[in-house]
């Protein structure tokens, strides 16, 4: 492990001051599950880790009619097992419950995962899919970003190096809306090779609106409006859903790598998109095609 300095702010303000002071030379340590392996490999270099685990209130999970708010210290396991989250935003609880493995979920934080923006990360796809509000603090004050525009790809986000994500607010999802997330990983707990998030809103028997976001295959969460077009205004039959799923795959632009060819990843996306859409439709209260 590389030499580093460690700072333990006891407030958001102190944390932001440190980030500002180091302007790019400091990194936030929340769960550390993504950060520490990078530091150990030398893939990330830092002058200072800013440990935010001692700031009061970070681990809050607040659920009301409209939102699930996850504080910067809330662990994946907390989000996954929170009854209110499971009820009001089921896809969030499910996704959190399948990130990595038990040990990773016991430490990793949802906010940290979103700020880190790993191309293969699960929470960024959800944040994009549900257009979550991403609240960030810095010495200049607070900014709220939207998930749909937050991710630039390859670990880059709207955040600059002096900002700290303090909370993420997901909208609740209830009929006539339904959401689901499917992923494929080469072995249990490995980073997924392809993921798809689906959100469907029904109006009677027809799809009023939808969102499809592919992940892990390209630089970051990639919305697929071409596929959505094939759904909106139509009945979500098996044939329609399949057509949209195929479009998710066809429009993707993956690369060949150790995990598989671009073609293979496109095929995976089709399969995952169909599964996610069928589940989303069912949760939206739709008839099972």
């Amino acid at each position: 492990m590389q030499s580093l300095s460690y700072a333990r702010p006891s407030s958001i303000q102190e944390a932001c001051s440190l980030l500002d002071e180091f302007s790019g030379g400091a990194v936030v340590l929340a769960g550390g599950q993504s950060l520490l392996p990078l530091l150990r490999l030398g893939a990330a270099i830092t002058d200072c880790v800013v440990d935010v685990n001692h700031i009061e209130g970070g681990d809050r999970i607040v659920v009301d009619e409209d939102h699930v708010e996850v504080g910067f210290g809330a662990r994946h396991v907390d989000v996954a097992t929170d009854e209110a989250v499971r009820e009001r935003c089921r896809v969030l609880a499910e996704t959190a419950g399948h990130i990595g493995d038990t040990q990773v979920r016991n430490r990793g934080t949802l906010c940290g995962s979103i700020a880190h923006a790993d191309p293969a990360g699960d929470p960024p796809v959800l944040a994009t899919l549900l257009d979550a509000e991403i609240v960030a603090a810095s010495v200049s004050g607070e900014t709220t970003y939207r998930g749909s525009s937050f991710f630039h790809g390859f670990y880059e986000t709207e955040l600059d190096e002096t900002e700290l994500v303090t909370a993420v607010r997901f909208p609740t999802v209830a009929p006539p809306r339904g959401a689901a997330y499917e992923k494929w990983e080469p072995s249990e707990g490995a980073y997924p090779v392809a993921t798809v998030g689906a959100l469907v809103e029904l109006d009677g028997d027809l799809v009023a609106d939808a969102s499809l976001v592919a992940g892990a295959v390209e630089a970051g969460p990639t919305p697929r409006p071409e596929a959505v077009e094939l759904l909106v205004g139509r009945e979500p039959t098996e044939a329609t859903v399949t057509e949209a799923a195929v479009a998710v795959g066809e429009h993707a632009d993956p690369i060949d790598d150790a995990e598989g060819t671009a073609d293979f990843k496109r095929e995976l996306l089709k399969t995952l998109a169909k599964r996610a859409l069928l589940a989303a439709v069912e949760r939206a209260g739709g008839p099972t095609p």
Partner: protein, 815 residues
């Protein structure tokens, strides 16, 4: 009565063991308590006063000339003792290689530090010695090496092309060694005339099969702690190794001024080996030299990144094979061209090819066999003798050809196999390749497996209720147990002692890498002496105090270490018998050793506890003893067991029965293929194995379950990915996918059948066990996949990325 002669009271009677002895019992591991309490002592847990930590600087390039190495920045760091390159270490070392290469091929192609060029990503270039590991790691990063990058080749095809860059040009240009271009050597196993036989065959099936490069990844990395004693000029080497008695033989060839008698090897607990800890590596040589030069203990432990880059793994091979049969299913000819991707240094390349070519015909009696192989240098990590020792690759090919032949002949694949395997009644038989098949019941193993997997109902492929494609397939192996030809002899020694309290200690040169052989040895000794296994302790591997054993490989340990221990226990028992007979006034033949007692078979009340007997041997009235036991009763038994069955291989034809015996094993699996993703899942299994008397069924099951799962990882999840320039793209556990508990099927013990045909030459009828299940998994999954999909997959691994495209092609892909 003085205290010294007081006879201790008999302890409370221990419950009688079921079969009267410890052999065959499910005795828990002797090291188990240490492991579950965290008191195991692995290499990295050891420390000696003044230990320095060594760390290699490794090449980031697959093929490059070393232009310059600047160690100044590293040397200037606080806590750094020295930084050496090949020039610094040269006076102390010699090039080295596996004895097969130095002796039979005439060259040694490895250097502990690369003197002039590097040949694969991970090749050792320099070494840092520092006061602690973190400092060593940081210093290693500050060694500045200037390279002139050369073209690299990563496949045998590229390496054998006419204009390919040469990895070892000095060898390629040396007329006295067989190296030609990048071809290290060729070899063969030849019996009969396959060309003519194939022409006469009614059916010929052929295929080109490709296996993948994998890493057995023992969870504990390689490590060594070397200490030089200037006083008695002894090098003590603690090593995470499978071959403690081999290291003192192997090290001196690489180290100037060191002789085998100068080296003592001691064993810590070893966290897995799987064939990767079987040799002598650069780290063994480097740590030893640095300890000798500095006078300080030197510890060198690899990390996982180094393991994946340079820890060595299974050779990937291309097997072009043809099988010729008569119309009635008789196998007539097996003709093979095997090309091995050997990696940057020869190491085990030839040994693995040579050994496995010999048994490439499997359990079948094929009169004409010609296995031709070539080993090829490439700029990838060298291979080593991973579990299976070359057999998985050959059986992956042969067993698929057998299924293909069955289809052409319209025969059931099991019937076709049985037709060509000798029955127990037909044994012993010498195969065309010279193998002596004896004391085994292949047919019963196959029949039991056929029943268990419900072969007749399952075979033919079907669709499951949830839409998966399901099929069954089979794989067999005749696995070499030991190899006399490889080392010049095959044997083990053992000493068994008893102290004044009747406590027994076994000294055996074997190692424990997780197989539990030391527990089996304890059981054999306890069984022989009629005592509880709690009464028996075992000292393993320490070359200072244990008799020589060739090491843990080729499933030889229970045979050799076990039999030596059993015979040594018999030797001790003979002394105890003579004493007991005299004390009890019972003929020796009427004595029974059981339940920690020795008694008269006629009258159980006439007897002594083992403690009493031992006490008598120590303190008893000498006039009560037979004459030759007055003046001292030596409670020491000793024995060496050497194979009389193993033979030397004929170097010309590559034939001969090199092994003490061969273990037959058959595995059937049922797979389900998901047509929406291409995922292949093994959903049922049945194992039939004839490993003779099973010393410990619980440990045996563990080895079989573990062997299968390790192979499932190789077949379904793992593969090395090198770019064309030799860069390793998946060199961490994040992207080299080892199976987790959630990725593999559970293998209940009732799916494992042991058909126990005893080997009459071993102490308890035991044969070897441990590699078979790994080998058979490769062809079993291949054949099951073909049965399920109707598509034959000639290339490993069977990841969805490779399966799904073929399903798409065949119109089987579903959405």
């Amino acid at each position: 009565m003085s205290e010294a002669s007081q006879v201790p009271a008999e302890p409370a009677a221990k419950p009688a063991l079921e079969t009267g002895g410890a052999v065959g019992q499910r005795v828990p591991s002797k090291r188990g308590r240490a492991f579950v309490t965290g008191s195991g002592r692995y290499l990295d847990d050891l420390d000696r006063p003044g230990t320095l930590h060594a760390r290699f600087v490794r090449s980031p390039h697959a093929h490059a000339r070393i232009v310059d190495i600047d160690t100044s920045e590293a040397e200037a760091m606080a806590g750094v003792e020295l930084v050496w390159t090949a020039a610094d270490i040269a006076p102390y070392v010699r090039p080295f290689s596996h004895p097969e290469n130095t002796k039979h091929l005439g060259f040694a192609d490895e250097n502990v530090l690369a003197p002039e060029r590097v040949r694969y990503v991970g090749d050792e270039v320099a070494i840092v010695l520092a006061r602690d590991r973190n400092t060593a790691v940081e210093a290693a990063e500050r060694v500045a090496v200037e390279y002139e990058v050369l073209d690299a080749v990563t496949t045998p095809e590229a390496a054998l092309a006419p204009d390919a860059p040469l990895l070892h040009p000095e060898l390629s240009n040396d007329p006295d060694v067989p190296v030609e271009g990048n071809r290290i050597c060729t070899g063969q196993t030849l019996a009969g005339d396959t060309t003519s036989a194939l022409e006469l065959a009614d059916v010929v099936v052929e295929g080109t099969f490709r296996t993948n490069k994998t890493n057995p990844s023992p969870l504990e990395p390689h490590g060594v702690l070397a200490e030089w004693d200037e006083g008695d000029r002894t090098l003590t080497l603690w090593a995470s190794t499978q071959v403690p008695h081999r290291l003192p033989e192997l090290l001196p060839s690489a180290i100037v001024g060191l002789e085998p008698e100068d080296v003592v090897c001691k064993l810590p607990d070893v966290g897995g080996g799987f064939g990767a800890k079987i040799g002598r590596y650069s780290h063994d040589v480097a740590a030893s030299v640095l300890a000798m030069v500095t006078g300080r203990p030197v510890k060198l432990v690899l990390d996982r990144l180094e393991e994946l880059r340079a820890g060595r793994g299974r050779y990937d091979e291309t097997v072009e094979a043809r099988l010729g049969l008569a119309a009635d299913g008789e196998m007539l000819a097996f003709d093979v061209d095997m090309t091995q991707n050997s990696g940057a240094y020869a190491n085990y390349a030839r040994v693995v090819a040579k050994s496995s070519a010999l048994t490439a015909g499997g359990p079948y009696l094929i009169p004409n066999q010609h296995i031709r192989y070539q080993n090829v240098y490439t700029n990838v990590m060298p291979g080593v003798a991973v579990r299976g020792f070359g057999n998985p690759q050959f059986m992956f090919a042969l067993e698929q050809l057998v299924d293909m032949a069955a289809e052409e002949l319209g025969m059931d694949p099991i019937e076709l196999r049985l037709r060509n395997m000798p029955t127990k009644a037909e044994l012993p038989v010498r195969t065309a390749a010279g193998l002596k098949f004896r004391d085994t019941d292949m047919h019963t193993c196959v029949e039991r497996v056929r029943e268990l997997i419900d072969w007749d109902a399952e075979r033919g492929g079907r669709r499951t209720a949830d839409g998966k494609l399901r099929g069954v397939g089979l794989g067999t192996v005749m696995q070499r147990n030991g190899n006399k030809s490889a080392k010049g002899a095959d044997f083990a020694g053992a000493i068994v002692t008893m102290d004044r309290h009747g406590q027994v200690r076994v000294f055996t040169g074997t190692a424990n890498i997780g197989t539990g052989v030391e527990t089996g040895v304890v059981q054999i000794v306890a069984d022989t002496l009629g005592v509880s296994t709690d009464r028996v302790d075992v000292v393993i591997g320490d070359t200072d105090v244990t008799p020589e054993d060739m090491g843990v490989w080729a499933d030889r340990s229970t045979i050799f270490a076990g039999t030596a221990a059993g015979h040594a226990a018999e030797d001790l028992k003979a002394t105890l018998s003579r004493l007991a007979a005299a004390l009890l006034d019972v003929p020796e033949d009427d004595l029974v050793f059981a339940d920690d007692r020795v008694r008269s078979s006629a009258d159980p009340d006439v007897g002594l506890s083992i403690e009493e007997l031992a006490h008598e041997a120590t303190f008893g009235d000498q006039s009560n003893r037979p004459e030759d036991l007055r003046g001292g009763v030596s409670l020491v038994g000793e024995a060496r067991f050497e194979t009389q069955q193993g033979e030397f291989m004929d170097e010309e034809t590559g034939t001969g029965s090199v092994s003490h015996i061969y273990t037959f094993s058959v595995l059937a699996v049922a797979v389900e293929v998901d047509p929406t993703t291409g995922e292949v899942e093994v959903v049922d299994l049945a194992v039939g194995e004839d490993a003779g008397t099973v010393i410990n069924p619980m440990l045996a099951e563990g080895q079989i379950q573990g062997g299968i799962v390790q192979a499932l990882g190789e077949v379904l999840l793992e593969s090395y990915h090198y770019e064309s320039n030799g860069a390793l793209t998946n060199g961490t556990l994040v992207d080299y996918h080892l199976p987790t508990a959630a990725d593999v099927p559970l293998i209940p013990s009732d799916r494992i059948v042991h058909v126990e045909t005893p080997d009459p030459t071993t102490s308890n009828g035991q044969k070897g066990l441990g590699e078979c299940a790994t080998v058979t998994t490769f062809p079993a999954v291949a054949n099951a996949l073909a049965d399920a999909t109707g598509i034959r997959f000639y290339e490993l691994p069977y990841t969805p990325s490779r399966v799904l495209p073929r399903l798409v092609e065949a119109g089987l892909r579903e959405l």
